[in-house]
């Protein structure tokens, strides 16, 4: 469970260009929820994501995961609870390393990286089987550099990498923004499957209103750093596309 308590984030505090990106936000996200977050540019969605990930420190407030106060922890220490799928597929992978080496690191996210070769045949086989479930034919490309794959392929692999090791929350910051419709569908269906089968909490930011209605069981709408709407699964099912567009009016 993720608890966001009275979080405020101000950029350039006290300067002429001061921006209040999040304003006294309190929110609870329960284990296993698939939360979709929408809002106009500058509404605070990505700031929220970066605060959870640890890229930004809040100006005030507290963040708790399963009753652990993660507010003072740096990004690399939060990785024992949180994994991330970035908007840009290039951000979530090391392009010069092979696919299998990227997966090896992902598999060790919460473990120590030892002076032994863990990238053995058994691990290779495990990764191939996981990649095969994508149905993209990438299982034959495990020794290729990650950078040689397309954006969509890399993003699908990043999503799999996100659940290679135990994780409580999977953050997805506009993961389909740079992808074609077919690749986007693969990514979001895979996210849905991960949420359903592994019970991992997912927080997805999207600018696609269609995707916002189709995926997830909770919908959050941010406006000017504040939470404007918070719809549960039933309310979300009844929501119409034009009503959603009206929120942006």
């Amino acid at each position: 469970m993720l608890r966001i308590q009275n979080i405020t984030k101000i950029f350039n505090k006290g300067k002429e260009d001061e921006v209040r990106a999040l304003d006294n936000l309190s929110l609870q996200i329960n284990k296993g929820e698939f939360v979709v977050v929408v809002g106009a540019n500058g509404s605070g969605k990505s700031t929220l994501m970066n605060l959870i990930l640890g890229s930004y420190a809040p100006t005030s407030g507290q963040l708790l995961i399963d009753d652990n106060d993660i507010t003072p922890l740096p990004e690399y220490q939060r990785s024992q609870w949180v994994s991330m799928v970035f908007q840009n597929p290039a951000m979530g992978t090391a392009p010069d390393l092979s696919v299998i080496e990227n997966f090896r690191l992902a598999a060790l996210r919460t473990k120590s990286k030892k002076l032994s070769i863990g990238n053995d045949e058994a691990f290779h086989q495990l990764v191939k089987e996981k990649i095969k479930t994508l149905g993209l034919g990438l299982e034959s490309k495990t020794v290729q550099p990650m950078g040689s794959l397309s954006g969509g392929q890399r993003q699908a692999l990043t999503l799999l990498m996100g659940v290679m090791d135990k994780t409580s929350i999977l953050l997805m910051d506009e993961p389909t923004a740079a992808l074609d419709p077919k690749s986007s569908a693969v990514i979001l269906q895979l996210a849905e499957k991960i949420n359903r089968e592994l019970g991992i909490t997912i927080i997805l930011i999207t600018h696609s209103m269609k995707d916002a209605l189709q995926y997830g069981n909770r919908l959050l709408h941010f406006k000017a750093g504040k939470l404007e709407h918070d719809l549960n699964a039933d309310q979300k099912r009844q929501l119409q596309l034009n009503q959603l567009y009206d929120w942006f009016g």
């Binding site: 991330m84 970035f86 090391a94 392009p95 080496e101 919460t110 863990g118 990238n119």
Partner: protein, 293 residues
Amino acid sequence: MSQFYLAALQLALCLSPMAIGIFITMKVFNIPDITTDGSYTLGATVTAVLMTAHYPIALVLPISILAGAMAGTATGFIHTKLKIDALLSGILVMTALYSVNLMIMGRSNIPLVNLKTIFSYFNGMGNEVYGQLVMALMMALVILLLIIYLLKTDFGIAMRATGNNPVMTSALGINNDRIKIIGLALSNSLTALSGFLVAQYQGFSDINMGIGIVITGLGSVLIADALRNWFHVKKISMQLILVLVGAIAFQSVLAFTLSIGIDPNFLKMVTAVFVLIIVALPRISSSMSKNRS
């Protein structure tokens, strides 16, 4: 093979740990580290002082390596904890090391005459030069194999990923600062190892022996980089082997320069021009092919 080229080959093998160290900072971590000039002299200085005090080589070797690691750690701390640019951090430590080296030596030069060196172990082979060559080759290969193994381990993959995409590694639970400090310590310990070898190879340690040595290591790495692009080498083990090849090629060019009678006083300039050519050639040829098309 003429003595000129044999000496160049031996020097290249002695300098190859430094080249591998520069490969680690420059290519693995993407950090321009010039602590090298100081840590190379530090390795030689510690070696000379301990050897003239008749400490066994088996003890001198790890102490020299440790001294280099400490220099690298200092650069790493300044860069990561004080958030000072890596280049400036290296310059600061390198500058401080000049005084440290002078303090350790107590004078500007220590000769290593009539002392048993690491190269003395193979003197029984009949030919002293070949004996020295075998020892230098053994040292270079041991270091090469150890670093190849390291970069293939889980920790090594984390090191390579940190230089390649620090945003990703941070999200994957890697403390980028800590791993950079370890990388800089490792790199400078390898540089100090080269200082340890070269001091014994040339029979003295001098306070100025490290000036511009980073260019020699850089040249070896750049030759390796050119060969890597040329042959489309992807494997990390092959990239490291190419660094060794680069070190040998670099020293061979310098030996050729001397063999055709160029004044040794111009050797540093020849080195700089050679590195400039290696760096500039791919850019010039690509801009020429663009102009043609």
